[in-house]
Symmetry: C2
């Protein structure tokens, strides 16, 4: 996850307007969690209300920049709520599939209430995201969100299609990350940019910034899965490998260590075996190269920013740095 | 399922325009199934392309009535595709939760490809439904669909919240059915009505028709689960009971047989035990009362139709009869 300190710094620098918009987003998310019957209220709290850093809502507001009127503010809050709902829905479904017990220190919905409730809760959060945007007046916003939601699911399918195949090409892996993670960051930035005046090229450039930040975020997440330490990531090293998910570290390492190219992930019997592969990957130097690659994507994101007021540009750069900073 | 013969009769009576609209819906569904990578193409075929009676798309077109221009036709096809995608997504997720092996005679996605692929496929179909509508120009259409999708998931949550509780009030059960099944039928009719000119009251009346038909459909489905025979429904009797889902037959029977009021569904150990409860329920005469109740809802649906051209009215009445007809 992005360093919370970096996010705090951005919020502090953003002044009272940004703080107010984030507060309204929280309030609306809490209202939605409470407003769909006791079952959702009970379980959605763990996922929605318990928090997270609200990185995607933050990007909505930062991409928008200065907001002059209440109508635009309302549109931005709807967009921020919608992207966070899609994100939450995907986490809830991920937890169902992983059978995860904890998320952000609290019991997951699937652990607390079972698969049926968790699947339906994810579906409801998903539907509510579209209802939230459709309550506004902007079809373009709905288009941006549905494109991202489709991409997210398509990325998940691609990951399954490629599972256990340790020979997948680098490009295909990068494409998957862009779908799975980049698309929702992209939508967040696009939704923000669409709400404030500006040439279409500005919205496209900000959307590309979001996509790159999301991609870098995923690349670094995949490095952390191999590098650990578990004390920092909150999970054992090599969980992706055990899951059959081939990521950047292995893709880079297999060219450096022919034995890794021949490894059969299905044969990994337990965590100890997965950690052994993690160590082999680290020995090739692939983790350093993978990090450099992610940092280069962050650099591209920063360099590709369109001309912006200096404080807006600084805030977006801080978020970009925050993605990197968790490597400290 | 509604009698396929009744649907055929409606389609025949609808003439070349209706047939053409349904054909375009099929073509677009096939295109979407093929257009999101080989994994979706492989698995979505079982759910989307393999068919079903397309009852919801049919309702979109019938609620619209005569269509005079290509723009409206395109809007209707988008709406028909969107409601069928939401329906398909919910079936795919249902199959994941039930661990179902077969659907419409073909292997389910979860059986063929596992829970991860099936969950992601459902999410993708869901997202594509909104993308399809957002490609049009009508926010009201997106609003109608997101309301239905939210209601569907909320109904699923309510069902889980009430599971194993054989004392749930009738009203609560009916409300759940309206959410779970009525809402998407309602949206289908509203989407059709919105696309063709007419006073708002007409769209509301047609939406209510859809909601009632959907409710009756669910009530009868719940009766079939108890009445069987398995040779007709394709599943063993009492699967709802084994699942902890309390439905109309038990709700009506528990007032007639005090022992049924005290039955502990969690204690049902196997299919034979569930069938025994089904027999007890049937012995009270509750199935007949439940059917009458469903038929009364169909009657209300028919009586509540707004003034319509006679062939349109006749077609909608035929669909209403089709819902009943599966009782032969």
């Amino acid at each position: 996850m992005t360093s919370a300190a970096a996010v705090d710094a951005v919020v502090r620098a953003g002044g009272p307007q940004l703080a107010a918009l984030l507060d309204r987003t929280e309030a609306r998310l809490a209202e939605l969690a409470a407003g769909h019957g006791p079952t959702l209220a009970l379980h959605a709290t763990a996922t929605i209300s318990a928090g997270g850093k609200r990185l995607r809502p933050l990007l909505v507001f930062l991409a928008a920049g200065e907001v002059a009127d209440a109508t635009t503010e309302a549109r931005l809050v709807r967009a921020a709520v919608a992207v966070e709902l899609i994100h939450s829905a995907s986490l809830v479904h991920d937890d169902v599939l992983d059978g995860a017990a904890l998320r952000r220190g609290a019991a997951t919905i699937v652990a607390a209430a079972g698969r049926t409730v968790a699947t339906a809760t994810g579906d409801l959060l998903f539907s509510r995201a579209f209802a939230e945007l459709a309550a506004g007046e902007e079809l373009d916003d709905v288009r941006a969100l549905s494109a991202a939601a489709s991409a997210l699911a398509a990325g998940e399918l691609l990951q399954r299609a490629d599972a256990w195949d340790s020979s997948i090409p680098l490009e295909r892996y990068v494409h998957r990350c862009a779908l799975k993670t980049g698309s929702l960051f992209e939508a967040a930035c696009r939704l923000g940019a669409l709400a404030t005046a500006g040439p279409p090229a500005r919205a496209d450039a900000l959307a590309l910034f979001g996509r790159r930040i999301g991609l870098a975020f995923q690349l670094l997440d995949d490095v952390l899965d191999v590098s650990g330490p578990a004390s920092r990531t909150g999970k054992a090293r090599g969980t992706d490998l055990l899951d059959g998910t081939v990521t950047l570290p292995l893709i880079l390492a297999r060219e450096r260590d022919p034995q890794l190219a021949r490894v059969d992930l299905r044969a990994l019997s337990d965590m100890a075996a997965a950690e052994e592969i993690c160590d082999r990957i680290a020995d090739t130097g692939a983790l350093t190269v993978a990090k450099e690659r992610a940092l280069a994507v962050v650099g591209e994101a920063r360099d590709g920013l369109p001309p912006l007021p200096s404080h807006q540009q600084r805030a977006l750069e801080l978020v970009a740095e925050g993605v990197v900073e968790r490597y400290g």
